[in-house]
Symmetry: C2
């Protein structure tokens, strides 16, 4: 029916220029509707369906027995109720806390996106609808686009001789960057397995968080560089010459530590093309999950590069002793060298339900045994974006001060 839409749009445009209004308001279905008390109502039009459900992280999680992984906590599910017009609806029984939430419908067993909501996020290979609950003074208020000065977000291509290709990355420059001659510190922010250079912007709300923290004076103005951590990829799915297909994933290049080893290519590009303070005291690196792993190994491989290191729900140990890549050899020796150079902040954060929790306990024991100073930050819940947004919001204000 798209052509009809386009044609109707054109006709409307010429009649009244109210096309946008009409198209955005044409559906009688408002979903999701954030009510005044912060309960949320979902609606789905499906007169012939037998059962419409909604699932998402706004519902209390359920425990599920899974083959191979034992009990895991999965998103809750709720049934919608059908009215006489074929409109199904569900309202949360209680108000929701301020947060960015994700949800999908399930229509007679089939996952379906919300046709009334154009706002979606791709997380690896799954697209999910989203909604935001604001709350003045809440941490989630930082995830909103607020009425504050906004930085710029660029997608640029840099040359990586180390990986033998041009690669795409996302760069946030703080408000005022374009209007000053100042130099800025740089925060390298790395995604997890399955992610790419879009993940921290879309799911992590990085631009909004940085805008807000800087506007409140909580964080220093800084450049934030979001790379692609998959060393076999030029860039995010759909953004390279591979076309609109599943991305190329050569695990062997990852296993050889090529991302970590080639990291100076990223830093060199940024220092050459942006007004940076190009020294250790003005560089931070942090990442989530696989990106935490990358931050750990890159920062000890290049111990003069970063004064600030953040491990968010980090993978720690899988490579140690498992293959011959030099980057992963001599774990404790490299760590010793790094800490002898006194990094200003080594920050470890994890959720108490994270499946990587015990690995982080073991890693902290190494740090404790060696009296390497670090700061530890623990939250409830597990390996989820909600936590990574929290960690970014906590970590960024500690940088470059």
């Amino acid at each position: 029916m798209r052509k009809l839409t386009v044609i109707a749009l054109g006709v409307l445009a010429i009649n009244s220029l109210s096309a946008q209004q009409a198209l955005w308001d044409s559906s009688k279905i408002k979903s999701p509707q954030v009510n005044e008390d912060n309960t949320v109502t979902f609606q789905f039009y499906a007169p012939q369906a037998d059962l419409v459900q909604v699932t998402g992280d706004f519902l209390p999680p359920r425990e599920l027995e899974t083959p191979g992984h034992g009990k895991v906590s999965v998103a809750g599910i709720a049934d919608l109720t059908k009215d006489e017009n074929g409109v199904w609806s569900f309202t949360t029984p209680s108000p929701l806390d301020p947060e960015l939430y994700m949800y999908s419908f399930i229509v007679d067993g089939l996952r379906s996106l919300d046709p009334a909501n154009v706002y979606m996020i791709r997380d690896v290979a799954t697209v999910t609808n989203i909604f935001l609950i604001d709350g003045e003074g809440s941490r989630a208020h930082n995830y909103m686009v607020n009425d504050v000065p906004h930085g710029s977000v660029s997608r640029v291509w840099y040359d990586s001789p180390g990986l033998g290709m041009k690669r795409r990355m996302s760069i946030y420059t703080p408000p005022g960057y374009e209007d000053s001659n100042e130099s800025y510190p740089v925060f390298y922010l790395l995604h997890g397995a399955g992610g790419d250079e879009e993940a921290w912007l879309a799911l992590g709300r990085t631009a909004q968080i940085m805008d807000n923290l800087i506007a409140e004076g909580k964080a220093e103005p800084m450049i934030v560089v979001m790379t692609n951590g998959n060393p076999s990829q030029e860039g995010a799915p759909g953004e390279t010459s591979e076309g609109l297909f599943p991305p190329n994933m050569d695990i062997s290049r990852m296993n050889r530590g090529e991302f970590e080893t080639s990291f100076p290519d990223v830093v060199n590009y940024v220092d050459k093309h942006y007004r940076t303070k190009a020294d250790k005291a003005h560089r931070a690196i942090a990442g989530l999950s696989m990106g935490g792993f990358h931050s750990l190994h890159t920062s000890k491989l290049y111990p003069d590069m970063f004064d600030y290191v953040g491990l968010f729900s980090a993978a720690i140990f899988p490579f140690e002793g498992r293959n011959g890549a030099p980057v992963y050899q001599d774990f404790e020796g490299k760590l010793k060298t790094q800490f002898e150079k006194n990094p200003k902040l080594y920050w470890i954060a994890i959720g108490d339900e994270d499946f990587l929790y015990q690995d982080n306990v073991k890693f902290r024991k190494i740090l404790d045994d060696n009296k390497y100073p670090y700061v530890y930050y623990e939250t409830p819940e597990g390996h989820i974006w909600k936590n990574w947004r929290i960690y970014l919001t906590e970590f960024a204000p500690q940088l470059f001060k």
Copy 2:
């Protein structure tokens, strides 16, 4: 099921780092599948459904009687066939020409996105899946990310005193911009009614088209500026402090011609923050539909600003004499002034089925009657993005030469 996905991802990450591979390949449903002969197969898993259909611009259009607008051409529709596993499928009866195509499924009457395809585009308030058929040497080959140098794409916020707000826009800088001290010409490219500063990038494939035309030596390296043409908006839906809701649309500001009148705010920002050749000979303006209307009126309101003007399926006349906004007054007088200053190219393109065709005939008669030189380019079909990608591909190579 998202949390399960995330947790499974984490487990996989730690076990094998093959999470991405696994997640991208986990579905047995491959849809759409571009076959070797450029036929395309669609698949949808729905064991309980009674009828699954696919609709999109890759199918022959149908004529539909609509209330108020008479007969309109709408996207075709095809039924899928169910196999014993509950997988529905449809293969196009003949190969498709190289092009960017849009489609959706209809499951028992309900529009549904393709769960096997993460690639989607938002067109105004509708999200649709997309796929690309490549063809070496075809025009559509320019819509692909090819193995050529890539420009950068930035979202920046500029101050518009004329509109009394900070506003978001998209800016393409050509390959090499960051590594040179050269100054570049600027092409201002405007969207249609209902669109925003994302439309030309997502639906128009502007970054890909410019990368490819520049790499082939067909177009000069240039900066392309894509503004938001809705004078009541700070930026695209979801990107402003209005949150994740339908956008604010104050038609009265549009009717007063505030977008056109405030256009120097855009030009001033760009000339101040980018290395531009800041004169008429190195500025172009073009737009589709409402953006063609904006290009027409802005270029005659500021006759010393642009040497290149492109009207793509442009709306022409709706405001003339209908309200008191000075920008729309004295249509022919302003046009006379503009053409006395000899713009280097005045380019008009439209499809022979476009509902604005007759308005463009009337407008060209005015130009003809006054012997104002222009170039006319006519294509088949109507008011559709396929044509606007063609027009961009034809227009950009004529600029700044």
